[in-house]
């Protein structure tokens, strides 16, 4: 089926099979491999992307459903500098080891910080509850998000 959408601000026209999910479309057709595929049934959060401004599981959305939508992946967020401070905090606090969950973590964390300027640790954990990390034990990830939140609040006039 023909689809037409925007990915990271660029218009994309493609012809896809209905069974193709958005995660595979991004990875296989557009070579945007920052979106990771873990469980393929919505549990692990590694494939989190933004569709029309809202975070979603790209493994639970069909590519054909994104016809006319605007999709942002970790590549878009990273290149625009939107999450540069968050990425730096993740590095500083060792909030990643293997890095497989990191794109999804950054997506979810950034989503939280745009909704709420300074969430407490409990709120951060709640918002990330749908993202698995098998390396860090989450403590360092929560630290990094907390640090970023404080930094963003301070830098606001």
């Amino acid at each position: 089926m023909p689809i037409s959408l925007h990915v990271n601000g660029e218009r994309v026209d493609a012809n896809v099979l209905p069974r193709l999910n958005l995660a595979d479309f991004l990875r296989e057709h557009l070579q945007l491999t920052g979106t990771h595929i873990g469980c393929e049934h919505g549990v692990c959060g590694a494939c989190t992307v933004r569709v029309d401004g809202e975070i979603v599981r790209s493994c639970l959305m069909l590519a054909v459903q994104t016809d006319g939508a605007s999709v942002q992946t970790i590549e878009g967020l990273s290149d625009s500098g939107e999450v540069a401070d968050l990425q730096a905090a993740f590095r500083d606090r060792n909030a990643l080891q293997c890095g497989f969950c990191t794109p999804g973590m950054l997506m979810a964390a950034h989503d939280l910080l745009t909704q709420q300027a300074e969430p407490d640790r409990e709120r951060i954990r709640e918002h990330l509850s749908g993202n698995y990390c098998r390396c860090t034990g989450y403590q360092a990830i929560v630290d990094a998000i907390e640090t970023t939140a404080r930094g963003r609040t301070r830098s606001r006039p």
């Binding site: 595979d24 919505g42 979603v56 639970l60």
Partner: protein, 293 residues
């Protein structure tokens, strides 16, 4: 895994969706938010020949209040329910419960109609609909059916809905001023499926239950509206009455066993919830352990 191949049709209206469902029957599956359907397809638990995507049918989305009825369109997403001032004002139980439905990225896509039609016995919304005495509005080519939520669910992933019908919305009575609600679920991790949960709505006057609807979930093949609630009505609550009710609840429930919990553990947790909810709804901290559990 990946879903097996299927044909895809994007319905342009309810009428169009019903035409497609009439023509393809149980070879077709309705795609709403996809947050339960897509996992089932990716795991190849189901392999429909045709997906009827109703996601673009604007008439099925939205929340409205008229007089004493709160109407919610089937395609209203969990995230919309959570943010809605109408829901917070007229069905606060729902606002509280939604925060426990999966995770933010899933709540952004999942819909109330999809959750009800999917009818997972461990999920929150079916139990809330039963507690709130909701009516499920179903449409087929031969017309509309209105079914009480209590009668809508018939088993694990089973409802009265036929393959040729569509849930178009739910209607809830607007909460009365003297209404109180309680929601709690036990789970391993925030957003996971409940091990045992309770959604309850009550009318409390002068510290006495005038009405009480307790819908337990993840303790049976569908949400269970506890008959035992009738024992708690119209009388001043005492620990002895609560203890009797607690024993009766354990008899009434017939929970399943799975890798998360044994039937005995689920029974125990249901009794804990009965005591806690009674205590919270009546504002009686002394009853919190009152089920002598």
């Amino acid at each position: 895994m990946k879903a097996s191949a299927f044909a895809y049709a994007r319905a342009t209206s309810v009428v169009n969706a019903l035409e497609l469902l009439e023509a393809h029957g149980d070879r077709a599956k309705v795609l709403s938010g996809g947050q339960s359907l897509m996992p089932a397809m990716n795991l190849r638990l189901i392999s429909p020949e045709l997906i009827v995507d109703i996601g673009e049918i604007a008439e099925l989305r939205g929340i409205s209040v008229s007089r004493d009825v709160l109407a919610i369109g089937a395609l209203t997403r969990h995230a919309d329910l959570l943010k809605s001032p109408e829901i917070a004002a007229h069905a606060p139980l729902l606002t509280e419960a939604i925060a426990h439905v999966a995770h933010p990225a899933i709540r952004n896509r999942g819909t109330i109609g999809g959750s009800l039609a999917h009818a997972d016995p461990a999920s929150e919304l079916p139990a809330c609909m039963v507690a709130l005495n909701a009516t499920v509005v179903i449409r087929g080519q031969r017309g509309e059916r209105r079914i009480a939520a209590e009668a809508f669910f018939t088993g694990i992933y089973e409802t009265v809905l036929s393959a040729r019908e569509l849930v178009v919305g739910v209607e809830l009575p607007v909460a009365r001023k003297s209404a109180a609600h309680f929601f709690h679920e036990f789970c391993r991790r925030h957003g996971d499926y409940a091990i045992t949960g309770l959604a309850a709505q009550a009318i409390v006057e002068s510290g006495v239950f005038m009405d009480l609807r307790m819908a337990f979930f993840a303790v049976g093949d569908r949400p269970v509206l506890a008959k035992v609630a009738a024992r708690l009505l119209n009388l001043p609550m005492t620990p002895a009455i609560l203890a009797d009710a607690s024993a009766a609840l354990a008899d009434e429930l017939n929970p399943y066993e799975d890798q998360q919990a044994s039937a005995a553990m689920r029974r125990h947790l249901a009794k804990v919830l009965l005591a806690r909810s009674t205590s919270a709804l009546l504002g009686r901290p002394d009853l919190g352990n009152g089920g002598s559990v």
